[in-house]
């Protein structure tokens, strides 16, 4: 059971990105399920993903990074699905990426040996909104920087909404916070993800827990 966490601020394109990943995995006959979180009291993203015919566990009413019990129950529920290959986790857009990563790294130590043997934290995917980058860096810089620092792959999304010069400036800034071996790609998730980027997300296999 390979796990991908997709962290990014509200409206950065997380749901669109995971929908693209889901389409690719489904086309490859891989079984994928989702754990979708929102701070609101109604679930919208979960319904959108479920409309695509996918298995979804929804956790709402709070940020997943503060709901360890619910997260672990959700992961255990998904681990019970026979033949499950991938779990894609979308925390709320207000999530602290560092806290999310710690929770996901700790999970196998607190789960059953059978689940722990199958569990693999495959990729930490961070999504940054190129169109609103300057505004978000004024308002919530900690969340943006943390999501970049923790990521194995950073997607600078909505690349079509920013000028090439601005995109380059943003990439330079993000590069200062990224992990040495992390990858940075400019995307427009609403137009679909290029196969190379998908393979980078799915193929990052350096994080055995």
């Amino acid at each position: 059971m390979r796990v991908i966490s997709v962290v990014g601020f509200l409206g950065s394109g997380k749901t669109t990105t995971i929908a693209a990943l889901a389409r690719h995995l489904t086309s490859q006959r891989e079984r994928v399920a989702f754990l979708i979180n929102d701070v609101g009291e109604v679930q919208i993203d979960g319904a959108v993903i479920r409309a695509g015919g996918h298995e979804v566990v929804e956790i709402y009413g709070g940020c997943l990074c503060l709901m360890q019990d619910d997260l672990y129950v959700g992961l255990n529920d998904l681990a019970a699905i026979p033949g499950l290959d991938w779990v894609i986790i979308e925390p709320a857009g207000t999530a602290d990426a560092a806290r999310m990563c710690r929770l996901l790294e700790r999970f196998p130590r607190l789960s059953s040996p059978e689940i722990a043997a199958r569990y693999r934290f495959q990729c930490r995917l961070g999504i940054v909104d190129a169109a609103r980058y300057r505004l978000l860096m004024r308002s919530v810089p900690h969340l943006i920087r943390t999501s970049v620092r923790m990521a194995d792959v950073v997607l600078l999304n909505k690349g079509d909404a920013a000028s090439p010069a601005e995109t380059t400036r943003i990439q330079t800034e993000l590069g200062k916070w990224m992990k040495p071996n992390a990858a940075l790609e400019v995307t427009t998730a609403s137009a679909g993800l290029p196969p190379a980027i998908i393979e980078q997300v799915l193929g990052t296999g350096n994080h055995h827990v």
Partner: protein, 249 residues
């Protein structure tokens, strides 16, 4: 500080108007909120055979409604869920924006009926900051009320009428320490409640924050009263008679 608002409505009308209703909801709320928004608003309409959904971050791009599946044209009632989360806005402002938007749509002839959103059972771990503030306020109240000042003073003023409180008199010499402890508890409560604002993401949490603030303010008033009261009372002196007897002046 983030605030979230969720609403559930039913739209009664032709399903082909659903996309327009969703666009109007999102654009209406964004316009009502105004300014530079940090967050997003989302809306989804569920029909038996498909869903319409849309989201906006408040920028000027037109809201595009996506549809999955083939909504049944014979359906005349559609369930709509709305959710918005914004940074730096009070929840009451989100609620007002929603109410104005819904009213505007009704005035345009759209039949929108609001139904209650069931309280989320999964609000965990997020109340800790509120609970610390509440706990500190209540502890401050107890310390101020019991040994610190108020009850012993009432015992003195009552002239023994509240005899049961006389047992607190021996604590009177320790009054300064209790005052300092109470002040520290109130400072902790103040920091937790006002310096580290709680996200407002549900009616329950908003009510919980209001209750915590009420308890804190009552505790603070009690403390101030306890500090101010003794100096305002007539001084009671103890005179020692030559033969060792005490008399009260």
């Amino acid at each position: 500080m983030f605030s979230a608002l969720s609403r559930h409505v039913t739209f009664e009308g032709p399903v082909e108007q659903t996309a327009h209703v969703l666009q109007a909801i999102l654009q209406g709320v964004i316009v009502e909120l105004g300014g530079e928004l940090v967050g997003h608003a989302k809306v989804i309409a569920r029909t038996p055979l498909g869903v319409f959904y849309a989201s906006t971050t408040g920028d000027r791009a037109p809201v595009h409604v996506n549809a999955d599946g083939q909504p049944d044209p014979s359906v005349s009632t559609v369930a709509i869920d709305f959710n918005c989360v914004f940074h730096g806005l009070k929840r009451r402002r989100l609620a007002t924006a929603w109410e104005h938007t819904a009213e505007t749509l009704r005035q345009r002839g759209y039949r929108l009926v609001e139904t209650p959103v069931l309280p989320s059972a999964r609000v965990r771990g997020r109340g800790s900051r509120v609970n610390v503030g509440l706990g500190a306020s209540m502890a401050a109240s107890l310390v101020a009320l019991k040994p610190c000042c108020v009850l012993p003073v009432l015992a003195s003023v009552s002239g023994g009428g509240l005899g049961v409180l006389q047992f607190l008199q021996p604590l009177e010499p320790y009054r300064p320490y209790f005052l300092i402890l109470t002040l520290m508890l109130l400072a902790i409560a103040f920091h937790r409640i006002y310096m580290r604002p709680q996200d407002e993401t549900s009616d329950e949490l908003e009510a919980s924050v209001r209750r915590t603030k009420t308890v804190f303010l009552l505790s603070a008033v009690l403390f101030l009263g306890a500090v101010a009261l003794p100096p305002l009372l007539p001084a009671q002196t103890h005179e020692h008679a030559p033969n060792g007897q005490h008399s009260h002046g």
